[in-house]
């Protein structure tokens, strides 16, 4: 089965494969990339992102962005991969860079990222080849294509509205000054992003660290912004000195503290005068000293 995306949309293709419980490989080509999804009985079991360029949704790059690997380590691992013919994920686990559980989570993320990207392709071609696919070892529970598709469609619907809340170009995210929260009370995705704010101010790396898709991450970031926990600034405002922001924050806090001390010193004086008026002034002591008239 093959054809043009403009004739038969990607959601319909996924739905068809899912409802008919087909096994095989769905190749989607367009937007200068080629992505292959592998199905077993209508469920997505693996994805093969385009390897022609250093795409961000490749596992190695994801690991670098998330801070599990350095660029140098990735280069060595890729060389090793070519030599030994093993999958990168396997090498990462073998080398002790990540656990199997983390690998599993990032591979899920890779599937979702690839699907969301595929959904954004407006023009291109698709091809579905029927054959028996054996699920990879990391795929303990295959993903339902229709469920993923629904999430993807929601992404397409909501993304423009959510994105409009952030600066149009690149932007950076910082935790708001002086705010501390008990992260346990936050929903899981917000909690993950909140924790990742400390890791990087680059939202892309932040979401990678949080193991969230761009859409999931930006949605959680929106919620955190709304709660007043983080602030978003356009990238141009980035400071060169890594501690400049912290120093400016301290300076600001000191200034606020001085203003606070002055304001409350005045308030204390007013309150002291008021306490004198209501408890020690002639009128007040007249009310409390009336007993003397009996003697």
């Amino acid at each position: 089965m093959k054809g043009k995306i403009t004739d038969f949309g990607i959601p319909e293709i996924f739905q068809l494969v899912a409802t008919q419980g087909k096994s095989g490989a769905l190749t989607i080509q367009g937007d200068e990339r080629k992505t292959v999804f592998l199905f077993t009985d209508g469920m997505i079991v693996d994805v093969q992102p385009d390897r022609r360029q250093a795409r961000a949704d490749l596992l190695g790059n994801m690991m670098v962005d998330a801070g599990y690997l350095t660029e140098e380590e990735l280069r060595r691992l890729l060389a090793m991969q070519e030599k030994e013919g093993k999958k990168l994920g396997e090498l990462l686990v073998e080398q002790g860079k990540i656990t199997r559980e983390i690998l599993s989570r990032y591979l899920y993320l890779q599937v979702k990222e690839s699907l969301y990207h595929a959904l954004m392709i407006k023009e291109g071609e698709y091809q579905f080849e029927l054959f028996a696919v054996r699920p990879p070892s990391w795929m303990s529970t295959p993903m339902r294509a229709d469920v993923l598709m629904m999430e993807g469609v929601q992404f397409l619907d909501e993304y423009p509205r959510i994105r409009a809340r952030f600066p149009s170009g690149k932007f950076l995210v910082f935790p708001k000054k002086g705010i501390r929260i008990d992260s346990k009370v936050l929903p899981s995705e917000e909690r993950a992003v909140w924790k990742a704010v400390e890791y990087s101010s680059d939202p892309y790396k932040m979401f990678r660290k949080a193991c969230l898709t761009w859409f999931e991450g930006i949605k959680a970031l929106w919620a955190l912004t709304d709660r007043g926990l983080v602030e978003v600034v356009a990238e141009a405002e980035e400071r060169e000195d890594p501690w400049r922001a912290a120093r400016a924050d301290l300076k600001h806090r000191r200034r606020v503290a001085w203003v606070r001390a002055a304001v409350w010193a005045v308030a204390a004086m007013v309150a002291g005068l008021w306490a004198y008026m209501v408890l020690l002034s002639p009128r007040a002591i007249g009310a409390f000293g009336g007993w003397a008239g009996f003697f």
Binding site: G178, R260, V263, A265, G272, V278, L279, A287, W291, F294
Partner: protein, 636 residues
């Protein structure tokens, strides 16, 4: 080492030091002068009383004793029990001539003619205590208790003092507790105000808004109770359970303040504007005006419970002025009015005896004895009457009991062996009857509370009924705000380092931030990263220190010792309440003023010691907690 920020504290200390002398100086107004106290008495009594006052002074002890005996004889002839003004004048003279420190023996000497002067006895007790004279102390204390039991205004005055003192203490406690709790809640409140209103300007507007919220009730002219309630309600969401208990106790005490104001107002209604010299004080001070119920603040039927007592006073005044016939008429009216208590019959007997109708007088004494068989005064008068009628057999029969009872009549210090014929012992206004009429007079206590001075001062602009509803509402709103704070996002301030954490579903376990729980101190490091936590800890410590100085005991609140704070607050408020109630009486008569001056100094000393102790101990407790959390070096 962190640098703390002491400049704010220095400013506060400077302000206190500059304003303290002004405040203390204004506490001591000049005492009032007394004058013309014997004008209404009979000429012979007046002359003798003036001689007693003239004889008082160092080197004239013998003369004073002689004059006192003569005056007392004259007083008894007119049925006068006490000339309290004698004690006042002797004291004034002692002050004027500079022998006040040696004045105790002279006042004790004139106690025979002014036995109902409670201030005099209290002053003597104070002198005995200060001088360590235990024997005199027992005797003077007996005199004081006797005077309180027999002199109408005394017991009412002590009740009024106790209520005024407690009311003042409640006011101080309300101010202290509400400000302490507001300052405890302030950091979180300030952050939430900024968050809720989304103030721009990086926190400056939040600071101003929180301060404005605090000052709003003051500038709006609300009474102390209303202002305290507003502060408590604002703080409720950020308080611990024990602090909520403290808040509840303030609200309950403010309700009690309403009741106290009501009782004080009722006492005022009972006595009229003239408490000492009016109908109530006839026994000790001759009334400046003839005792009459018409000057009482209540009207017609309302006055009924005390009109009989006022007429009794009028009868006593007539007796003391030497108008025996007029006095007899009043006593007869009272007897025919029903009830005819023993005291009325005894007094009518004296009035008749003064007019030479001894047999009729004897009949009254006998009748009085049937009603009150053991009454010393009546026994003595009957014994005297029998003697004068030469019924020696009957007088001999009465003598032992009469002598025994009359000697036991504290505080009069009567010595039968020295007493002569014609010295009659009158019956004063019964203090028990005054109390009964006080409770009979009390009507709608809420209305009376609304008319009291305390209410007008501390509950404006509300009415009495609305005030009660307001107090209940404040408690409910505070409770609702506390419950709501567990459901919505609010800031919590870490007690250890002051960092604010935005949380929902708060529990008291969240009072310390994760870093404090992990014992992470603020410290500079080699990376060049500024020590934000260290700065936060320093600023928080400075804040708690300032709170501790201005509102002593706050340090304990921050270290989580609420019950200790509350006990301390009660002690501090009692000492300050003593100050408020005593400086109000500094112009209440020279002896009273002198006593109150002592009490004022004592209260100032006590309050100052407690203030200092509360500031230091609270702060030490807070720093100990910081050390235990590992956020303050052990040496600091």
């Amino acid at each position: 080492m962190r640098k703390e920020n002491p400049i704010g504290l220095r400013l506060l200390v400077l302000t206190i030091v500059l304003t303290l002398p002004v405040c203390i100086g204004s506490l001591f107004p000049e005492p009032c002068e007394a004058g013309g106290p014997f004008a209404s008495y009979a000429e012979s009594v007046r002359a003798r009383a003036e001689k007693v006052v003239a004889a008082a002074g160092p080197g004239k002890e013998e003369e004073l004793g002689k004059q006192v005996r003569l005056l007392r004889k004259e007083m008894h002839a007119y049925g006068i029990l006490s000339l309290n003004s004698v004690a006042d004048l002797v004291y004034e003279k002692a002050v004027g001539e500079g022998w006040k420190r040696d004045g105790a023996p002279f006042l004790r000497a004139v106690a025979d003619v002014a036995p109902l002067s409670v201030p005099m006895w209290a002053w003597l007790v104070k002198e005995d205590l200060l001088g360590g004279r235990m024997q005199d102390l027992v005797r003077d204390f007996d005199g004081m208790v006797g005077a309180v039991r027999r002199f109408g205004p005394a017991l009412l005055g002590y009740a009024s003092w106790l209520i005024s003192f407690l009311a003042a203490a409640v006011c101080w406690f309300a101010v202290w507790a509400s400000i302490a709790l507001f300052l405890r809640a302030r950091p979180s409140l300030e952050s939430d105000i900024g968050r809720f209103f989304r103030f721009p300007g990086g926190g400056y507007l939040s600071v101003l808004a929180a301060a404005a919220l605090f000052l709003l009730p003051l500038f709006a002219g609300f009474g102390l109770a209303i202002a305290a309630c507003i502060w408590l309600a604002l703080s409720a969401a950020y308080l611990r359970r024990a602090e909520i208990l403290m808040m509840t106790s303030v609200i309950l005490l403010l309700a009690a303040l309403l009741a106290g104001g009501s009782v004080l107002h009722s006492l005022k209604r009972l006595t009229g504007e003239v408490q000492r010299g009016g109908w109530l004080g006839t026994e000790g001070y001759f009334p400046e005006e003839w005792p009459d119920a018409s000057y009482l603040p209540m009207k017609g039927e309302e006055r009924a419970p005390i009109s009989r007592l006022v007429r009794f006073s009028r009868g006593r005044a007539a007796m003391m002025a030497g108008k025996a016939a007029e006095a007899e008429k009043i006593w007869t009216e009272l007897v025919s009015g029903g009830g005819s208590p023993a005291g009325v019959l005894n007094n009518r007997g004296i009035a008749r005896a003064q007019q030479g109708r001894l047999e009729e007088a004897l009949a009254d004494f006998e009748e009085a004895l049937r009603k009150a068989p053991g009454d010393g005064a009546t026994l003595w008068n009957a014994y005297q009457a029998y003697l004068r009628l030469f019924n020696l057999e009957r007088s001999r029969a009465l003598q032992p009991e009469a002598w025994e009872k009359v000697q036991a009549m504290a505080p009069y210090n009567l010595r039968p062996a020295e007493m002569e014929q014609g010295e009659w012992i009158a019956s004063p206004l019964n203090v028990g009857d005054i109390w009964k009429s006080f409770f009979a007079l009390r009507g709608d206590w809420i209305r009376e509370a609304g008319e009291s001075d305390i209410f007008r001062l501390y509950f404006r602009p509300l009415s009495a009924t609305v005030s009660l509803v307001f107090l209940a509402l404040v408690w409910l709103i505070a409770g609702a705000w506390k419950v709501l704070s567990m459901k919505v996002w609010v800031n919590r301030t870490c007690r250890g380092c002051g960092v604010r954490t935005l949380i929902v579903g708060s529990r008291e376990a969240h009072e310390f931030c994760n870093q404090c729980r992990s014992r992470i101190a603020g410290a500079s490091n080699d990376t060049g990263e500024p020590d934000r936590r260290g700065q936060g800890i320093a600023m928080h410590t400075a804040y708690v220190r300032a709170c501790s100085v201005l509102v002593p005991g706050s340090g304990w609140l921050w270290s989580g010792k609420e019950i200790r704070t509350m006990v301390y607050g009660i002690l501090l408020s009692l000492s300050l309440g003593l100050l408020s109630s005593s400086i109000g009486a500094l112009d209440g008569g020279t002896i009273v003023a002198d006593l109150e001056r002592t009490v004022t100094f004592l209260a100032i000393g006590l309050a100052a010691v407690l203030w200092l102790a509360g500031s230091v101990a609270g702060l030490r407790s807070f720093r100990k907690m910081q050390r235990e959390l590992g956020i303050l070096p052990a040496g600091r």
